[in-house]
Symmetry: C2
């Protein structure tokens, strides 16, 4: 951040009065420009014994498989964000259920929220950000070609919980290039 988005003044990094950490502050108008983590909302779309995955058409991890998920937008709820992303990436309608996994990724300032979801009909097709969309069973999931650790962990938990017929919310910290820390 170089310039103030309000007045175009130059930005300095300083600790504002009453604050306890450096912020981007405008040298002209004094506005403090806070930076905060972003929410990535997504879902695990279930159809009978299969899960709907999308093959990514875009950076990062193009060509790899993912659950439908993306940055939460203004003016929506987390559940609406998950539903919208599923529509945009897989042209699929889902009924969003319980929150299933929360991932903290502090090194990239993201918080993933993934909900269980029911695919109401086996109707789907690739959206603009997907190369293909497909239903997979546990045995056919491309485990070695999943896009992100958040996706791998969510799918692993799902099939583990499915065998026990009990689905438990989990919160997980993911560090860069480190093993997963399971908070709960």
């Amino acid at each position: 951040m170089n310039y103030c988005s309000h007045c175009s003044g130059e930005i300095t990094t300083t600790i504002p009065q009453g604050d306890n950490r450096p912020r981007h502050v405008c040298t002209h108008c004094g506005m403090v420009h806070y930076q905060n983590p972003k929410i990535v909302a997504g879902c695990l779309p279930i159809y009978q014994n299969q899960i709907l995955l999308c093959q990514r058409a875009i950076h990062p991890r193009a060509g790899y498989w993912t659950l439908p998920a993306g940055f939460m937008e203004l003016d929506e709820t987390t559940q609406q964000a998950a539903e919208r992303e599923t529509w945009e990436e897989a042209c699929a309608k889902v009924e969003i259920g319980e929150l299933y996994t929360l991932f903290n990724l502090p090194h990239i300032n993201q918080v993933y929220l993934i909900f269980l979801a029911q695919l109401t009909q086996p109707t789907f097709s690739p959206g603009e950000e997907s190369l293909s969309t497909e239903l997979f069973t546990e045995d056919t999931i491309p485990w070695n070609n999943l896009a992100f650790p958040t996706i791998t962990k969510t799918l692993e938990y799902y099939f583990r919980d499915l065998k026990q017929e009990s689905f438990t919310f989990r919160s997980i910290d993911i560090a860069p290039h480190a093993s997963y820390k399971e908070v709960k």
Copy 2:
């Protein structure tokens, strides 16, 4: 947003190629400035049969009582954010437990995440943003002087769940001036 924080060029509102909604885009360098909801992380600090509340010293709702909570910062997890806020607002050390409530507040683009927490010792005092800090039982909580609906709902759920000795995660949509919609 009037100016580009990267190059100080003028900002226009337009739908970028491949996008589907209006964004703030720089007319000079083309940078897209996305806006996203913020996470407010907090906790419900439990000590024996009492809950620690803070009386707010700052806008909004100065003078009203709240659970320790605030905007999640960069480079931290949601649990660390809740722990930090409790330290900053109530000078209290807590052990953060399960995620207890998620509130969607799309009209102000906030998502509240409130965790159950154990106050390890009955040691606390007002931080800079608090007028006072105090332990309350269900009967002594200032129910008519709580700062936000998110706080009232979380406390109501807690005492309801406490009677049943079973704590259930809940996701709630809060609309402006509307009755609560309970998603789960």
